[in-house]
């Protein structure tokens, strides 16, 4: 993090973020999915690591709660690999944001990833990472910049 950004130190703590993820267990329980406290902390940590490795800054509660809400009804998720899959999806999400040069909103990218995961990738994270996301990036990067990259104020 740069010196200037280091001046701003009041990002939510990992514990605060983990608490918010645990609160979503109620929402995912009907699908037989549940995070433990350790899973929630691991998910927060993987998000921080993914942000660092992709050179991004995130604020507020971040995208993790939305990711859980979007993916929890996937028939390819099971309690055995739920936390691990969410961690891998976290990494893929930020990689995709960078690969696509922020051309898609968080919501649009998440829904696109869910459709690809449930559809052509048949629940395979390898296919999502190796085929679907690079294809999306190639398609988007030949299109013009998003309106918010250059807008009149």
């Amino acid at each position: 993090m740069s010196l200037l950004l280091a001046f701003v130190t009041d990002f939510p703590s990992p514990a605060q973020r983990a608490e918010k993820l645990l609160a979503l267990n109620e929402r995912t329980a009907p699908y037989g999915l549940r995070l433990s406290a350790a899973d929630a902390v691991a998910l927060v940590r993987s998000g921080e690591e993914a942000l660092r490795s992709t050179g991004r800054i995130e604020w507020g509660d971040g995208i993790a709660p939305q990711r859980i809400e979007v993916f929890c009804n996937s028939s390819y998720l099971s309690q055995e690999d739920y936390a691990e899959t969410l961690c891998e999806l976290t990494v893929l999400f930020y990689q995709a944001k960078s690969l696509t040069e922020d051309k898609l909103s968080d919501r649009a990218l998440l829904h696109w990833m869910k459709r690809a995961f449930d559809g052509e990738c048949a629940g395979s994270l390898d296919r999502l990472a190796g085929d679907a996301l690079p294809a999306l990036a190639r398609r988007l990067n030949s299109a013009p910049q998003p309106s918010w990259v250059r807008t009149d104020d």
Binding site: L4, L5, V8, L51, S105, W148
Partner: protein, 169 residues
């Protein structure tokens, strides 16, 4: 000697970060003041990020976030630079919330941009006649290009060079 000259009140940069450092060094700001300033910076950065992305992204590349924060501090510095001395600016910094100083800075910046546009309009009406095409291209189109590129609400600190340079051919 150099240190003394740099820290003399008349030589202190009234921009936010150097002013904060000066205040801490001379006991005019406390660690509590600094904590408050830091805590108030994040909502401003978040607000600017949401403004940039239209609330459609909860993360940004670090360099974009840094540029937004740089712009926030630049704008706040414009409000502080109206003060006659570092002591006066530090009093303002202690008494006013950062978002109020940011709003005051934005107001000042808007007025400066409006004044610059008026000066440019005046300039374009008073060009002298010359066969040198670059004279007109720089003063009219080049400066107009700056106004087109400059985004004071989000990237107030940016400097755009838009002058037209003749090639050597």
């Amino acid at each position: 000697m150099t240190e003394r000259l740099l820290s003399a009140p008349e030589n202190v940069d009234l921009s936010l970060i150097p002013l904060t450092e000066y205040g801490l060094r001379h006991g005019l700001l406390t660690e509590d003041d600094l904590r408050r300033l830091r805590a108030e910076s994040l909502p401003l950065l978040r607000c600017q990020a949401e403004r940039l992305t239209g609330g459609r992204s909860s993360s940004l590349p670090a360099e974009t976030a840094e540029a937004l924060l740089d712009s926030v501090f630049y704008t706040i510095s414009l409000a502080l630079k109206r003060c006659a001395s570092p002591e006066e600016a530090l009093t303002l910094l202690r008494q006013q919330p950062l978002d109020a100083l940011f709003a005051a800075g934005q107001k000042r910046l808007t007025r400066k941009v409006q004044a610059a546009r008026l000066m440019h309009d005046e300039l374009t009406r008073s060009l002298f006649s010359t066969p040198n095409a670059f004279y007109r291209a720089t003063l009219v189109d080049g400066i107009a290009g700056f106004f087109k590129l400059y985004r004071p609400a989000l990237f107030a600190q940016e400097t755009h060079i838009t002058q037209i340079m003749p090639s050597s051919r």
